[in-house]
Symmetry: C2
Subunit: 343 residues, 2 copies
């Protein structure tokens, strides 16, 4: 039976503060490219892995009740990815199928079929898109804006981390609904992308704004209806001063806080009473039943060029740690993808 080398990215130890490349190890193990007799598992060849901010939280030493998805030192990272089925013990999948779901940071994975979320039916778009615009980040933007955020036509929308995997879609989806959209990002290049590539109405570099409240008042003299929250901390505090009555804040992430051992205090929460604001945390897993509807909405728009997507592609598992760590310094421009193999 064929044993092959299987490169893996392992967590070296629990992480405190900002993660470093060296918090992960690249190792070569071996794997038997065969589903064990009688098993219903699926053997996958991993193609594209998704680098996502939430992964940072899984590197913490777990406190309180264990999170079943937390990483274990000495074991491979896990995350969303696009894979090809090499062999299947489960009737829903067969050799050659392209799928996306939870996989491991390694070349080949033998996994329970339940970790596969969807079979990929449309391959006239880049396969990497199933880690981003057509994957978890895409559904997150869609559900966050329309379901959690209850976006209405013509509203005023602010999004932080706006050139990221989710933010660039939030802005474009809101523009498709005739909304006024402003985004913030952390470099001139990203700020320019927002207006020139994604069609935002306005954008600013939060690092160059000494007073975020003033920056928001400049862009939203009448206030914000929907703030799509990706960063937390000081940005959220300034936004709370600028929300309109009955505004909504879908809370997708707080990337500015994940590496701090003591989170920044948010002091303006009382404004959610004065303005009757709804602040709601959510994640993709509560909304993945929307996926068929989401594809129906988005695939035509991608094909017609009405929605575009910027990816930042790193090649080879060896570069995985650097790609992942780069999310937290804002090194990536657009969705960070890690290529394990091109088919």
């Amino acid at each position: 039976m064929e044993h092959v080398k299987n490169k893996q990215v392992l967590l070296r130890d629990y992480v405190t503060g900002f993660p470093k490349d060296s918090d992960m190890n690249i190792v070569e193990s071996t794997i038997k490219l065969k589903v064990p007799d009688g098993s219903s598992d699926v053997l996958l060849k991993n193609l594209y892995l998704s680098c996502d901010p939430y992964m940072r939280n899984l590197m913490n030493k777990p406190e309180g009740p264990p999170n079943p998805r937390s990483y274990t030192p000495g074991s491979p990272l896990t995350g969303y990815g696009v894979s090809k089925v090499l062999e299947s013990g489960h009737p829903d999948f067969k050799e050659g199928d392209l799928v996306w779901g939870f996989t491991k940071w390694e070349e080949y994975s033998l996994l329970p079929a339940a970790q596969i979320l969807f079979k990929i039916e449309h391959t006239d778009v880049p396969l990497t898109y199933y880690t981003g615009i057509l994957g978890m980040p895409g559904v997150t933007a869609y559900a966050g804006l329309f379901e959690v955020g209850s976006l209405k036509k013509g509203e005023k929308v602010f999004v932080s981390a706006a050139s990221g995997a989710v933010g660039q879609l939030v802005g474009q989806f809101a523009r498709l609904n005739d909304c006024y959209v402003v985004g913030s990002a952390g470099t001139k290049e990203k700020v320019d992308l927002l207006k020139n590539k994604f069609g935002f109405d306005g954008s600013f570099n939060y690092k160059e704004e000494p007073d975020l409240d003033a920056a928001l008042k400049r862009h939203f003299p009448e206030g914000i209806d929907v703030y799509f929250e990706n960063v937390g901390g000081k940005t959220l505090d300034a936004v709370l001063l600028n929300m309109r009555v009955h505004g909504r804040i879908p809370v997708c992430g707080m990337i500015s806080q994940y590496n701090l051992t003591q989170h920044e205090g948010v002091t303006n929460l009382a404004h959610i009473i004065y303005k009757r604001v709804r602040l709601q945390g959510f994640n993709f897993l509560d909304f993945y039943h929307l996926y068929p509807k989401f594809l129906e909405f988005l695939l035509p728009k991608i094909r017609e060029g009405k929605v575009v997507y910027v990816e930042d592609i790193a090649e080879d598992l060896d570069n995985g740690p650097k790609a992942l760590v780069g999310l937290f310094s804002g090194r990536n421009v657009g969705k960070q993808v890690l290529v394990v193999a091109h088919e």
Copy 2:
């Protein structure tokens, strides 16, 4: 035409920090007890005034867009109250009607009819109740718990300021829905009331808990489904660590913060992502259309003694400033009412 003396409670000047009795003046003006010819205003004799924490915010010097309800130095305070109609220029009201709505802190008020919210139809219950259990605080508890909080049978509910005008009802309404209810308050007397008078399952004195997180874990080993937020600050921060997945936090008030020039920072907001929690500010005015349904729900329960209500009654406008200021040191036990006149 009859001119009579009209005692008033005026705001002396904008307030910073904790309010003091001396931030208000008692003055005697005069008023003509007659609706001017051609006017559609209503002349009211004020009976019972409601002392509410939100009033503190109206004493601040307004920043940004003016709040039409903010107090003006030299003018009477305004607030909810029960009044008797002496004369009406508006066809909806007539002499002798008992009403509740927005009125002024004075003996007699000439007001636009639109400031009257409801005519009082049921007088077999204490009239003071229309400042509390059957007034704004009652609807606030009801709407906050069932509409904003989406309370389900059997859930685990925590409420702060639990013996207050709203809190005591939140606990009792939740108990009527077979929920497990724990409340916090700031004196032994109040904590005892929660269990002995209002039937809470548990209660604690937040001032005697060095570690609020530990206190909550003791009372909610499986976490909190609904936190009815009245206080903000450190309590909210500890609650965020103890919310269950898909928990809700209706945010009614943050009384611990209103007198601070710099609000405390809330550091655990990222937990609303991990637990997909909904935090929603609201106020009575968004829900007052529910009033008929609310009365139908509550009046029989009051008559049958299934819901009780504790009031703290101060007599005479002269004692108004002290009654109002007492809310912020927790001096009152139960709903703080100010009697202007007994009919």
